[in-house]
Amino acid sequence: MNASASRIARTLLLAALASAIAVGCSKKVKETPPTDSGPSTGTTTTPVDDGGATRPGAYGPNDLDTDACLRNRVVYFDLDQDALKPEFQAAMACHAKYLRDRPTARLRLEGNADERGSREYNLGLGERRGNAVSSALQANGGSASQQTVVSYGEERPVCNEGGESCWSQNRRVELVYSAK
């Protein structure tokens, strides 16, 4: 490669590194969803190869098992509510970043409800909760095209002894990666 081409290449590389670092820093932001950094960094970041070497600051597939934030895969809800509680905002940010860093990743948002009331109506409630998580992920820069909301209503409880302690465990959305 001649001198000017290598200079261009170096500039590009530096630009890529700079934006990668910017993306890397944005994952530390917990309070405000970094709506700006998502799309703009997406246009300057170099494409990621499937399962290959990850860029510095970007998530890799193994992080799903090792990263403290990504290991949060369940979002819990209050009775008859689909509003996302503040304690789950951090999980929304890191999972959204994972989706951005891994364009091949596919995420199922499985919505659930506790056993009280009509089963078919609870399918609707589970879907509302799944949609709420999907909206929060999108607000954090995660792409909707990588997400699918599926509602199981009250049909897949994790416990069946009834009472508020069990019911609160069933009012949940599970984040299930069908592709990493």
Binding site: R116, S118, Y121, V150, G153
Partner: protein, 435 residues
């Protein structure tokens, strides 16, 4: 197990055609009677003469009539006389035993089955009310017994009996990865349960076609809810709805040509009607709330459904072709899962107040709507009317397990149907059976 392997396993289960689980056993359901009716009519069902093979026809008739809550049957033991036909009946005997009605019968072999003759008498009037004969194969003697019960019930009460009917219901056992689900069909006295679908993924919402030969239901075997229609006898089935989002709450129209269902492919759950011939879909409701559980009115022109468009679930009605929906439940903070009686006059619902859910009845046959409570709670759901509107099946929770109850529409008598193991729910009462 990976999701793909689990799905393969579920498909293997479903490749097994519908088979009778244990036709000879009493069935997985036991029936206990809770409560009683002081105004029940006393009837003596005398053991029939002759034999009908393994099946005790008069036993079944006696149990049917007692189960309805409308009759009090005389115990078989200690009957002073055992007439099998009219010429052997001595009315004073039965008057002394304070019986209003007397049923006698006898059977003789006929071909590969039996010919069963029966006669019903009014003791006070000393008059024969019914005299018929039914001929059927030995394997159909339970059906014969239920048909006799239906005839006796209708003659005395003026309302068709619903003893010769079936029930569909969902069972489940286990939690998480070991969960197993099944869709079952049994006689409405619980006899002879057979598996229609077996799955490792949830099954929901069985709905009978009016010909009693097919069931629509929801299955998650494909990784999301989807609606299937299955022929019970052959096991063959078709997937009729598997759109993005929810595919749920299927309900056959009275003429069997259309299926109402809930789809959220438009962004939120709405009611649709599918023409089963063309598969063409008509959207009936279009509201950002959750609209679900469509149930046809008997004339096929309207739908009653559950909607939380007003904040919490309530019952609404709408023309089946679409249009504006009108709220019809104004008592209770939560009303869902409507079941409409054959004459359209009564609607059974699951009604919630705080954490207690009970079956309630909305009676619209009089000037102003009247509510009554049919069940004690506290987690009662999924009411389903018998085709004669006289009884309602529903699901109740007892500890960790689900059981079914049948309650008379006047709330006076309840029977508990208990599956030997596991969880039973989502009952659906079949239409009248046809010969």
């Amino acid at each position: 197990m990976t999701p793909i392997a689990r799905r393969l396993l579920a498909s293997l289960f479903l490749l097994l055609p519908a088979f009778a689980v244990s036709a000879q056993s009493r069935g997985g359901l036991e029936i206990d009677i809770v409560g009683g009716n002081a105004a029940a009519l006393p009837i003596a069902v005398v053991p029939f003469g002759g034999s009908t093979g393994e099946t005790d026809v008069d036993d079944i008739v006696r149990a049917d009539l007692a189960r309805s809550g409308q009759f009090r049957t005389l115990a078989e033991a200690g009957l002073p006389e055992r007439p099998t036909q009219g010429s052997e009946v001595a009315y004073p005997t039965w008057r002394m035993l304070k019986q209003d009605f007397l049923l006698v019968g006898r059977s003789v072999p006929s071909g590969d089955g039996y010919r069963v003759e029966y006669e019903l008498f009014d003791v006070a009037k000393q008059q024969r009310l019914l005299g018929f004969a039914l001929t059927a194969p030995a394997s159909a003697m339970r059906d014969v017994a239920h048909q006799i019960s239906d005839a006796v019930y209708e003659k005395i009460l003026g309302v068709p009996g619903a003893f010769w009917t079936r029930i569909a219901y969902v069972t489940s056992s286990g939690l998480g990865r070991s969960a197993r689900y099944a869709l079952m069909v049994a006689d409405s006295d619980g006899f002879g349960p057979r598996t229609v679908v077996n799955s490792t993924e949830p099954l929901m919402s069985p709905s009978w076609a009016p010909d009693g030969r097919r069931l629509a239901y929801v299955s998650f075997e494909g990784g999301n809810s989807a609606v299937y229609i299955q022929d019970i006898a052959s096991g063959s089935r078709e997937k009729v709805a598997s759109f993005r989002g929810i595919n749920g709450a299927p309900n056959f129209s009275p003429d069997g040509n259309r299926l109402a269902l809930t789809l959220s492919k438009g962004g939120n759950p709405d009611i649709y009607v599918m023409d089963l011939g063309s598969r063409h879909l008509t959207q009936v409701t279009n509201h950002f709330g959750i609209d679900t559980e469509p149930t046809w009115s008997p004339d096929g022109a309207g739908l009653v459904f559950t909607s939380d468009r007003g904040g919490r679930p309530q019952i609404y009605q709408v023309p089946a072709s679409g249009g504006s929906a009108t709220r019809i439940s104004f008592e209770g903070t939560y009303n869902a899962s409507p079941s409409v009686s054959f004459d359209g006059k009564k609607i059974a619902v699951a009604q919630g107040a705080g954490n207690t859910y009970r079956i309630a009845l909305l009676d619209r046959s009089l000037g102003s709507p009247r509510w009554s409570l049919l069940s004690p709670g506290s987690l009662d759901e999924s009411p389903s009317f018998a085709p004669n509107g006289a009884m309602v099946l529903y699901a109740a929770r007892e500890g960790r397990r689900g059981v079914l109850y049948a309650v008379s529409a006047d709330g006076r008598v309840r029977q508990r149907l208990v599956l030997a193991e596991g969880d039973v729910r989502e009952p659906a009462w079949s239409p009248y059976r046809k010969r």
